[in-house]
Point group: C2
Chain length 356, copies 2
């Protein structure tokens, strides 16, 4: 999956409900030539999102292709309806992309490769349908090989789902590179995979292979970088998703952890009867669970303050969070992740370019 | 899956390398009419295994069927080669069973239902091929409903794989029933499922649904019993399998934990560079990880002393284990599980028949 010039489908949802589209635009290396949103055709990306490259918003793939002078490698599905189904109103755009020789990349639960019409059309035109939620079929159990890679490994871990672990991971990589650290992002979820262009969707892997699927990625790239930042998932105290979290923690054999939290969150999102433990309890739980496989400390904290309007209140929340976690902290979106990289570097992680 | 009279296939491996066959014979409710082992044809089960019901050992399904006067519901595959493949030398027996109107039950990685010849033959004869390693396709994420079932829930948890969690769970259920506690076993692995006749193979479930697949089982039977004993898998410190362990722990929302260990084990089996933590550390880890989802203490310990020859040495090991765990302990095979049930009852678990 290596696409330089792409079009992103975000019909009726750009930008507010197009999380995958925005993630790719903000963090991906791809050049986004156009966004498809039939409700905003004729507008521009910059009219809505100031901090990404500008591009036209158009109503159909045909218009996008024309606007890009035909210079497009792939169509990315940048939105996901509840349930992850395929919206039939997208079919004409997907077909037009295939007929124009473009790959189609999707993170939907509905696999494009299992759609007989699309699969036949793709075969006819020699393009790939990439279902990023479908795990490789050659995954197996972990062997402990993650501990042997050259790179130092940092894993983002959360107090809950949807606290910003992917964003924190990507911002940490960006801030580390700014300092000259040869860092890379290791994706574990569908949006991260679409951004990075590779990776295993850990939540879709057979539970016996959870750690193995993480190890598979670390072994693949672990000798090419000085610092790997593994995108965490869920939370170790989540009533439904803790298995995924635990598999990533042990599979990554991380050298350091970055605890991610959303300011004001007091109970598990969607499971409100489950109160969050205190922050020091999280630190103890994650460090205690990691230790028998690989000693790892919480070296920094990432606080998501998007629900806090006032900058000063947000800054105070970040300070209090850092105190509770006992490590440097920042809001990676509001402040950038430089303060988080401080904690990583202070822990001696990040390779030869860094004085311990 | 409800078979009263069965034949078990264990060619060339009975009894020493036929773990599933022995598990079904020892703990299943099924009446085993014959064992297939072409190397021991003409011998009897009792010649080799004293503590299970006797049955003839024969060389082929045809002979077994004749020996049972045709009164057979199913053929169970009671052995698994390394890798879990299907041995072609078994095909004639499987075909003969199908042609005799018997279901075939298998815990192999190789799914009988994906074998076109066997699937066609089964359809022709109106019998079921039951692949117990194939999860239900309607599983989903946990909701926290395990916390609402009427039964008290005990989960066996391990210091490692292969320490006897399934056996401990089954022996606990047997000992609890002896005391008049209405107890049931909740299987999570293929042998447990073949013994119990139902269940989800948790290690084969998509990692996002690990806890949900456990919850699914508890909700199904949780109001019909006073005590459920959930078969644990792996270990929370296992470099490869901890995700499965964590999903079962949180998915079961257990009220009490039974820590299972094998005497003398000092490192993770097959991962010898990973030393086991101390027993008190295991207690802290399991209790600490359980608490945010459901408060649960280690209420008893199960020590597997099969590698200790001397009874007195074994008894001393059990005593020392109980002291380290801080709870009543027993070797459920050597001593029976009554001492373990003591711990469960002392913790107030097991329903109205028990004085707290």
């Amino acid at each position: 999956m290596d696409h330089e010039r792409i079009v992103i489908l975000a019909h009726e949802k750009f930008p507010g409900r197009a999380k995958t589209a925005l993630g790719v635009m903000r963090y991906g290396d791809q050049d986004v030539r156009a966004v498809l949103d039939r409700d905003r055709a004729g507008e521009r990306v910059r009219d809505h999102v100031p901090d990404v490259s500008d591009a036209p918003i158009v109503g159909s793939f045909g218009e996008a292709h024309a606007a890009a002078d035909g210079d497009v490698d792939a169509l990315y599905i940048g939105i996901a309806p509840i349930g992850g189904g395929f919206d039939e109103s997208w079919r004409s755009d997907v077909e037009a992309a295939i007929e124009a020789g473009c790959d189609v990349v999707s993170g939907l639960h509905y696999f494009l490769n299992e759609d007989e019409e699309l699969a036949a059309l793709a075969a006819e035109h020699g393009v790939d349908l990439v279902d990023v939620r479908e795990p490789d079929d050659d995954l197996t159990v972990a062997t402990g090989a993650s501990g042997d890679v050259d790179a130092d490994v940092v894993c983002t871990v959360g107090t809950d789902c949807s606290v910003g672990k992917m964003t924190a991971s990507l911002e940490i990589v960006a801030a580390a590179r700014e300092r000259g650290i040869d860092a890379a992002f290791v994706p574990t979820g569908q949006t991260g995979i679409m951004i990075a262009g590779w990776g295993n969707p850990i939540d879709r892997v057979v539970s016996d292979f959870t750690a193995g699927a993480v190890e598979d990625m670390l072994v693949e790239v672990g000798d090419d970088y000085d610092l790997l930042v593994v995108e965490g998932q869920g939370s170790i105290v989540h009533p439904a998703y803790s298995a995924v979290t635990c598999g990533i923690l042990h599979g990554s054999m991380a050298d350091g952890l970055v605890l991610c939290h959303a300011a004001g969150r007091e109970a598990i999102h969607g499971y409100e009867s489950f109160a969050l433990p205190s922050l020091p309890e999280y630190v103890d739980l994650y460090e205690g669970l990691a230790a028998p496989v690989r000693e790892a400390s919480v070296v920094a904290g990432a606080l998501n303050t998007k629900d806090v309007d006032d900058d000063e209140v947000a800054a105070d929340a970040v300070d209090a969070f850092g105190d509770a976690v006992g490590a440097p902290a920042a809001d990676p979106v509001r402040d950038g992740a430089d303060g988080i990289v401080d904690g990583i570097v202070e822990a001696g992680l990040g390779g030869e370019t860094v004085d311990k």
